[in-house]
Amino acid sequence: MVYKVLLVKYAEIGIKGKNRYVFEDALCDRIAEKLEKVAEGFEVVREQGRIKISCPDVYDFDETIAQLKTVFGIWEICPAVVIEDASWDSLVKGVGDYVEERYGDRKMTFKVEARRSDKSYPMTSPVIASEMGGCMLDRFPNLSVDVHKPEMLLYVEIRNMAYAYSESIKGLGGMPLGANGRAMLLLSGGIDSPVAGYMVAKRGIVIDAVYFHAPPYTSERAKQKVVDLAKLISVYTGPIRLHVVNFTDIQLAIIDKCPREELTIIMRRYMMRIAEIFAEKCKCQALITGESIGQVASQTPQSLLCTNAVCKLPVYRPVIAFDKQDIVDIAEKINTYETSIEPYEDCCTIFVAKHPVTKPYLNIIEHSEKKLNDVIDELMQKAIDTVEIIEVN
């Protein structure tokens, strides 16, 4: 059957106060952007407490739903039929036709829920519900009422016209992008960082990304893998401005001058510093990493303390307390897992010491870093100046 209208119910926006329209407008815009890809002629309008999508005469329903399932902020999508003449007899016929087309003469239990935002309508909501229930029982002898666990929950809504629907398709939840600022994701080729980016974006935050590559120690393919990952999460997060930073010289300087077992910690401190510089340029309010407590030597609480110490911006670490499998589950859900496990080496692993420090002391790390004093400013500047920016869309 062809649905003329999709009613979108949103998640947490409903509890916002006077700035609620900011969130609603953002959600309308995100929905409209996605539906442009499906067909021309979708109309997205904010109605009281929800969003109404009017569909063009011809469109691919499955593709439309698939696109809506990538929009943060949507709680449920309800495909509805429109009954333009909401006078009682027309309404009963319209709702009955919908039930017949959708369910045929199937034997099932049901319940009617009614709402009228048009308070001039001559019946109250409870009366509409019970009267409509009776009419349906008359028309479909196989239906029976179950008010507790109905197989079909039939909604009838009366506004300037009437809508009938009985299905709700789960959306992603979260908040619409653009409603909550911007953050810089440290994106590696691994499993965790794309998931971290996705999770933060789900809270309505637009993300940019930075990737550190170390040619010739890491290959073009390793870089391409990161671009591919950014592209995969951009399905959800929208366009990503990916900063590719050449980290080789800094890495080699650290290897040259600092203790090898502190390499990863010191490297990560410089990555954070560089990420923060780009974050400020992009007007981001935070950094995002895929760090998770104890997963590797550089992610012990002591190591995180040392890495964190160089940052002025807050660092969002959404998977900090996740088990690996829980992260993998999300990676599979958002379709990044297969790409993340492609076997190209990243710059964190290539020179890693056999026994890296797991409980570094900040003062010792800071002392080791001083050995870089005479070269590091120049190397940092070069890394920043030679950044390659890829707009991933």
Binding site: P215, P216, R260, F351
Partner: protein
């Protein structure tokens, strides 16, 4: 010497540039003579002439009959057809197949898949020069043995087998054995005459000899039974169905024709390049050449030089060379996507710490002495830098 923007493509064992003559005939069979050889009209007839011409060129080059040539999609399909096809067609005679310890994945993996169908596979060992230990191979032959499959030129180090000698030895022990030879790196570099060398099946790929990718053939002696792998419209005398890939077939035909023109001169030039590289490699510190030496230059293939580098991971050096416009390979390009230790290098006894530090340089008729000089000069510059930062 300062060379700016120089390029050196030294990965010709992975693939070669298509020659102008080949590209021309490929284009012609795509845009002018694009008929289906099976069609009854003249467009079909014209296309068929290309297939016949290519078949004749190839048959002549091998001194075999045209009907003994089956066109395939390339070396991998040729090896699959030879091994799986012959095994299935001859399973009543026995279920044992012998190969060597350093075959290409397109031989090794079909053999492993045959194990699922009840065949038993043994691998003969090779010595440090990359030669099959013939005595050990002969010991493996039993009443059940139906096929022996040996690579002519090894793709990673360029070692060459004495194919005629091996054939003689194994057939003396069991005369109805089918001898398959993977000649993907050898055809073009050598004149190969299957009837004289006792080869029953020979796999060849077109893109290693300046032909198009997706082209190749399998020579099958008329007495050898091979079950087809691909069924359909009955093309190529039912042995390999599917509309003939006329551009690829015409392309490989032209490539073979061109390659064997002034053949000796070409091969001498390749050996000159190899000699030059072997002479200059010691200028680069910490290098070890595998399965080749200046005093036995002609014992190995003319186009492959395998070098191990102390304390440098091959991929790092590969990418460093790439930045300088030099393309080489670590291990064999076909298996490079699966970082694993090369079985060939293990088989010829390369030291464990060098397994992961070996590059393959390979030449074609287009390779110049300047490219090799540029490569050596670049290595002299890069190796000291990158051996300083090694993994621990």
């Amino acid at each position: 010497m300062v060379v700016i923007n120089m390029e050196a493509y030294l990965d010709n064992a992975a693939t070669t540039k298509v020659s102008d003559r080949v590209a021309e005939i490929v284009k012609k069979t795509m845009s002018v003579d694009y008929g289906n050889p099976s069609s009854k009209h003249n467009k079909g007839f014209d296309a068929e002439q290309y297939v016949k011409a290519a078949t004749n060129i190839i048959a002549d080059s091998l001194k075999v009959q045209p009907k003994e040539i089956i066109f395939t999609s390339g070396g991998t399909e040729s090896n699959n057809m030879a091994l799986i096809g012959a095994a299935l067609a001859n399973k009543r005679k026995g279920n044992h197949i012998i190969s060597s310890g350093f075959e290409h994945a397109s031989v090794y993996n079909p053999l492993l898949s045959l194990e699922d169908f009840g065949f038993k596979i043994d691998f003969a060992p090779v010595d440090e020069k990359g030669h099959i230990k013939t005595e050990e191979l002969l010991k493996l032959i039993s009443d059940e043995t139906i096929i022996v499959s040996i690579m002519y030129v090894n793709n990673e180090v360029g070692a060459v087998q004495n194919i005629a000698g091996l054939s003689k030895a194994i057939k003396a022990k069991k005369n109805d054995l089918i001898f398959h030879v993977d000649a993907i790196q050898a055809y073009g570099k050598y004149r190969i005459f299957p009837k004289k060398e006792g080869i029953d099946m020979l796999s060849v790929s077109g893109h290693k000899i300046n032909g198009p990718k997706g082209s190749g053939f399998l020579y099958v002696d008329e007495k050898v039974k091979v079950r087809p792998l691909i069924f359909g419209g009955g093309q190529q005398k039912n042995r390999r169905s599917g509309t003939e890939n006329v551009p690829a077939i015409a392309g490989i035909g032209e490539a073979v024709k061109e390659f064997y023109e002034n053949h000796e001169e070409k091969i001498n030039r390749l050996y000159d390049l190899k000699k030059h590289m072997l002479e200059r490699i010691p200028e680069v510190p910490g290098t070890h050449v595998n399965a080749a030496s200046l005093d036995s230059l002609r014992e190995a293939a003319p186009h492959i030089v395998s070098v191990s580098f102390d304390k440098i991971k091959s991929e790092v050096l590969l990418h460093a060379l790439e930045e300088k416009g030099i393309c080489v390979s670590s291990g064999s390009a076909c298996s490079s996507n699966h970082p694993g230790i090369s079985s060939t290098l293990t088989a010829i006894g390369v030291k464990k710490e060098l397994l992961d530090s070996t590059l393959r340089f390979s030449f074609s008729v287009n390779t110049t002495i300047e490219e090799i000089d540029y490569c050596i000069d670049t290595l002299k510059e890069l190796v000291p830098i990158y051996s300083r930062f090694s993994r621990r």
